[in-house]
């Protein structure tokens, strides 16, 4: 694989992973904001009214950075992956165009009302706007995931006489069960992040002894949603995603599990370090037979290992394996935290139990890590293919863009994103510092 392809892959991985940090928050927070806005639209509920304003500010910063870092992603297909775009554009351009038309417009136009129209429109229209922005962000996620799902498991296409790939059946692409299970998993993953953010900020207020009424509300709603979402992430959606991988991408499954040799009654590795030289999992801690059961529902089923395939078909094993284990490990911990919190909430003890409030506050970054790790499993595990079984990544990179150019722009993106990251942290921490009870500050009188 040439230097140019490696540079292109690093650039795409870096820009898309940075970008995705912000959609995680917007997808995850949107339902909370809509909920608070509808509660507020009935009058009376002051906490909900303050909450809808406060969380919209956090949402807006995430949205703005999500937009500006999202535009390069659409450009990147053409700039860095021109042969891929020329070959498959008739397929993947379709859902991407629909994302713009059906989702992105909805989000952007109605966000204008949320940010600037609070005092100009009725509480009802404001709540509708919050809902439509939420629907827009969820739809946007769908079209992106449907595009990715097609690259993972291409369906409904045919190859034209000039070698380009044409879409034969848009329904097959949009209603592919593979895509829908992946979408549900991704969406719930973002919802876990959103609920941990809401609960974590609430926990911070309670620990700091300020904004108590608001803090309690955030913690309560946050942990309830967190429990439901983190359970659904694992079952049924995570389980169904694994089943699809087992069926359509068995090499990826073997890499995820660090299984080098085909085994009857394959064990599930909890700990261990895959070594591609020695072709074994070093120092493993395993649960016997469980992988066979999870993959095939049968404790003695044969699971194919990596060595059943030519090593030119292997994805990068270590990265896929670790990312998968980080995701699953964190997912399990989220359920534990959320379940314990809900138990204490039910007993009426949560708001005064400081150790768990500390845990909730400090847990905030981890759903981000789990979400990103999940995408690493999906995308790195897809290698060496860009379209699974159809087109190799090595053949997909632009030939008229030199490695030097990509490295130059990569450095530029790194600098730009470092600045964006600093500004983001500055503003979000500052808004959290102001809190829901400092409604506006000097220059924003009249807006949110």
């Amino acid at each position: 694989m040439g230097t140019a392809v490696v540079a292109d892959r690093i650039q795409f991985a870096f820009t898309v992973m940075f970008h995705y940090l912000f959609p995680i928050a917007t997808i995850g927070l949107a339902p909370f904001i809509a909920w608070f806005a509808w509660r507020a639209s009935r009058g009376e509920d002051e906490v909900a009214r303050r909450a809808s304003v406060f969380w919209t500010k956090i949402f807006a910063v995430n949205f703005a950075i999500g937009v500006v870092t999202g535009i390069p992603m659409e450009f990147a297909f053409g700039t860095n992956w021109a042969p891929f775009s020329a070959k498959a554009g008739a397929v993947i351009g379709q859902p991407l165009a629909m994302e713009g038309v059906y989702a992105f417009f909805l989000e952007s136009v109605f966000l204008g009302i949320m940010l600037y129209g609070r005092r100009r429109v009725s509480a009802k229209l404001y709540a509708w706007s919050a809902t439509l922005v939420g629907i827009g962000s969820w739809l946007s996620g769908f079209f992106i995931v449907a595009t990715d799902a097609w690259m993972q498991h291409p369906v409904g296409y045919r190859v034209a006489s000039d070698g380009s790939i044409r879409l034969a059946d848009i329904g097959a692409l949009l209603f592919s069960p593979f895509a829908w299970w992946q979408y549900a998993h991704v969406l719930l993953g973002a919802l876990v992040a959103g609920s941990f953010i809401v609960a974590g900020v609430g926990a911070y207020y309670l620990l700091a002894g300020r904004d108590l009424e608001d803090g309690r509300r955030y913690v309560r709603l946050g942990v309830l949603v967190a429990l439901v979402a983190s359970a659904l992430v694992i079952f049924p959606t995570g389980d169904r995603n694994s089943a699809d991988v087992t069926k359509y991408q068995p090499v990826k499954l073997a890499a995820m599990e660090g299984l080098f040799h085909s085994t009857n009654g394959a064990p599930l590795a909890i700990i261990g370090m895959p070594d591609t030289q020695r072709r074994e999992l070093i120092d493993p801690v395993v649960v016997p037979n469980v992988l066979s059961f999870l993959a095939y529902g049968n404790f003695t089923a044969n699971v194919k290992g990596l060595t059943a395939y030519a090593d030119t078909l292997w994805p990068p094993v270590a990265l896929t394996y670790y990312a998968y284990h980080v995701m699953v490990g964190l997912g399990t911990i989220f359920i534990a935290i959320a379940a314990l919190s809900v138990l204490l909430l039910w007993r009426g003890r949560l708001m005064g139990f400081r150790p768990l409030l500390w845990v909730l506050m400090l847990a905030m970054p981890f759903p981000y890590i789990a979400n990103e790790a999940g995408w690493v499993v999906t995308e790195v595990g897809r290698q060496p293919w860009v379209i699974y079984g159809v087109m190799r990544t090595a053949a997909a990179a632009s030939t008229n863009v030199a490695a030097g150019e990509t490295i130059f722009t990569l450095i530029g993106f790194a600098g730009m994103y470092f600045l964006l990251g600093l500004l983001f942290l500055l503003f979000v921490l500052r808004e959290i510092g102001f809190g829901p009870n400092v409604a506006t500050h000097a220059t924003q009188e009249g807006e949110v």
């Binding site: 297909f77 713009g100 009302i113 940010l115 100009r120 863009v401």
Partner: protein
């Protein structure tokens, strides 16, 4: 079907030019008309609720190009690698400067982001013009339809002139918008600057139009005939900008300025037709609507799947703009 797809693409770009055109224009021209922090804030807020939605038209135009004409998308974006990356960085910088300026109540902070916004807006206007100029002029494509967009080739006098023209035309559009959507001193100063800037627009308009016709006349058969009505229309619209602005009809002046931009984009598209990326030197073929297309079935499906959505977008955008009427705060409210 190919023609309908080409028309849809040109329409999306024309709408983008009108909508994002005014906020780019306001960004580029604001320091020349808005005195003091209150007026600067008022200028920024006149576009605040809308710029994001406007910019989505660029994304959608990109998405449509991708879906309708994958080969043209692949060739253009990889060929213009560094220029397009520069556009991206400017778009990003511009986006955050508008969003972040209001987060600190500090003159220094506002000043920095306002200047960043102005610089990025002006450069973007020029770069869009340069890109359009190069598209009309043609690009040196290889046998597979790819090219290397070297700065030395792209920054030719013709394209640069179109770039400056684009900056002035969008600045005029921005002034027409400010005249319409703000009040008091700011609106009055915008109106006065508009009538002076107009002469510059007219001058460059004549120069670039003649140069374009000279460039393309021997190439695409019938190109001058196709674009002639649009050229006449654009001339009328440009006259309208001056006239309506003088007689104090800002709404009509803005409408005329919008029509001017639409007719310019469509005129450029009609001279390029049937090419999406004409070859250079003129007459050496290029990527056209047939060899770049995603096939008749694909094109028909993309049209069927996006047109209802675009219609809905237009409807709810109008709804939001009407609901937000009077939203830009006048300076007296601050």
């Amino acid at each position: 079907m190919n023609v309908a797809a080409f028309a849809l693409l040109a329409t999306a770009i024309a709408i983008y030019a009108v909508l994002d055109g005014y906020d780019l224009g306001v960004g580029a021209i604001a320091p020349f008309v808005a005195r003091g922090s209150a007026q600067r804030a008022a200028a920024m807020e006149s576009i605040g609720p809308f710029w994001n939605g406007n910019e989505v038209w660029l994304i959608v135009a990109g998405g449509l190009l991708f879906a309708l004409f994958p080969r043209a998308y692949a060739s253009a974006f990889s060929g213009f690698y560094l220029p397009f990356t520069t556009v991206l960085w400017l778009l990003m910088f511009r986006g955050i400067s508008l969003e972040l300026r209001n987060h600190f109540a500090s003159e220094l902070w506002h000043g920095f982001w306002d200047t960043a916004f102005t610089g990025a807006s002006a450069l973007l206007a020029v770069l869009f013009g340069v890109t359009l100029g190069n598209l009309v002029r043609g690009l040196p494509l290889d046998a597979n339809g790819y090219f290397l967009g070297r700065f030395a080739f792209l920054l030719n006098p013709y394209a640069l002139a179109v770039g400056i023209f684009a900056l002035l035309a969008l600045a005029q559009h921005g002034l027409a918008f400010l005249t319409l959507r703000t009040d008091g001193e700011l609106a009055e100063r915008s109106r006065r600057l508009l009538s002076r800037l107009w002469w510059g627009v007219l001058l460059l308009y004549c120069a670039t139009t003649l140069a374009s016709l000279a460039l393309r006349s021997g190439v695409a058969v019938g190109a001058p005939m196709r674009s002639a009505p649009l050229v006449v229309l654009s001339l009328l619209a440009l006259g309208g900008v001056h006239w309506f602005s003088r007689v104090g009809k800002p709404g009509l002046a803005f409408a005329a300025s919008s029509l001017f931009l639409v007719s310019l984009v469509l005129a450029a598209a009609s001279t390029m037709y049937p090419y999406l990326l004409p070859g250079f030197p003129a007459g050496s073929g290029g990527i056209d609507i047939t060899n770049a297309g995603s096939g008749p079935v694909g094109l028909a499906r993309t049209l069927a799947l996006t047109l209802p959505g675009l219609l809905a977008v237009v409807l709810y955008s109008i709804f939001v703009i009407r609901r937000m009427r009077g939203c830009p705060r006048s300076t007296s409210e601050l």
